[in-house]
Symmetry: C2
Subunit: 259 residues, 2 copies
């Protein structure tokens, strides 16, 4: 599929790669952006007669959807049009370039003198720093860039974070950003061998990053009565969130560091 | 180098792969573990006569070094000995297996009835979830496991975190774990294109995970007088930490979301 050419936006739509036939960004603030078409020129803030940008871009609609993709680490399909200023742009029509990761967003003053939003997209396969680190090992002259922590996310996790409106179940904190509130989902019994915890809501907590780190490193656990162990207080639990006590016990037994 | 065979521990030492000739784990609580040799059997807590484990393992020495590698995301060289119970173990001597990432640690009751510490090591090249996510895209029946956030680390960052003794420069918080205190280093002007911020202390902040997320998403910035913008209070700055005001301005201009 990657590298496939399309004659026009209608063909691109029929393939399922990018549904809107006008908008360059497909998606929403709720789901993030699933697909973008790079074809030169902006969609918004243009004077309909002169084609010039006439005001600062806001972080709304398509721009906000891309910022949400950044916040949640969601993959975005990228398609280049022939008018896109890139060596990879096709001579005519459109070409699907594959999955990308939004790993940064910021704003700059554009040629018009007004602010524009910019996004850095990295190919999904090369977005991971294994390469940098291998280089660092093999070529000691380069500074090593390692990874301290990877926060995984799943579809189930997104629903759980929405249930708590991104409030931490331990401290109630909700991190407010322009891309929307930020929280992380923590698996109680970890995914993968040898733990094989399920990716289901009864095995997940909605936490702020600080309490996520502390939970993963066993600085606190959760008792059968939902009392916090290692921290004062109780876990906040939504009436529709049914935790599996066996998973909580799994975490207590293996991860919790008793003082 | 990966796949290289060694006749004995002395040869392994001379190659530089693993310096200790007895200990299975090379490293320290300060630097983490740089190398381990898997050869069956435990190093510690054994009765010198019977060879049996006689007490619970503590998270100290080699085990603590591996937990620090987990905390900081440091790579570990892995070598397998012929006595290691694995299909990848060599028939005789030792074989270097490559770089691994410690992505989990916990404890379990061993055969002796006493607790042992366990570590999950994943090959460095496959530790990244790009694979899972590609599968998720190509085979919708599998549940997608995405990555919400990657926290990068560098050698300079480690020194800065030590300078602050892992206290957050915004809130003073220090996350306490059995693997030692946890903090993250935030680049003020980001690394990589198009920002090309330097990996130097004048471009770094020592932050708790919560304030790292908020800083990266522009929920707060830092003024010339080190006053926080978007949050009350001032940035705490160590007398030996000289911040570059141009980098702070770079972040304010491009990332800070003015209300």
């Amino acid at each position: 599929m990657e590298g496939t050419n399309f004659v026009n936006r209608q063909e691109l739509r029929e393939s399922g790669v990018h549904l809107p036939t006008q908008a360059g960004i497909s998606g929403s603030a709720l789901e993030g952006a699933d697909s973008i078409v790079l074809s030169g020129g902006y969609e918004d803030d243009r004077d309909p007669v002169t084609g010039r940008q006439v005001k600062h871009q806001q972080l709304v609609r398509g721009n906000l959807a891309l910022a949400v993709s950044h916040r949640d680490g969601l993959p975005v399909r990228v398609t280049r049009g022939s008018r896109h200023a890139s060596a990879f742009a096709p001579a005519a029509g459109y070409r699907y370039a594959g999955l990308y990761r939004v790993d940064d967003h910021w704003r700059e003053t554009g040629k018009s003198g007004f602010l524009i939003w910019r996004f850095r997209l990295t190919r999904w396969e090369t977005a991971w720093p294994a390469h940098s680190s291998q280089e660092a090992t093999q070529q000691p002259a380069r500074r090593p860039v390692l990874v301290q922590r990877i926060v995984r996310d799943t579809a189930v996790a997104r629903a759980l974070k929405a249930m708590y409106d991104h409030h931490c179940q331990v401290c109630g904190e909700r991190l407010e950003t322009a891309a929307g509130p930020y929280a992380e989902a923590a698996h109680i019994r970890p995914l993968g061998a040898p733990h094989h915890g399920p990716d289901s809501a009864d095995n997940l907590l909605c936490l702020c990053p600080n309490h996520h780190v502390l939970f993963d490193f066993g600085a606190f656990g959760i008792g059968e009565d939902l009392q916090l162990l290692g921290l004062p207080g109780h876990l906040h639990v939504h009436p529709q969130h049914h935790l599996n006590s066996a998973h909580l016990e799994y975490h207590r037994t293996r991860y919790l560091h008793w003082k």
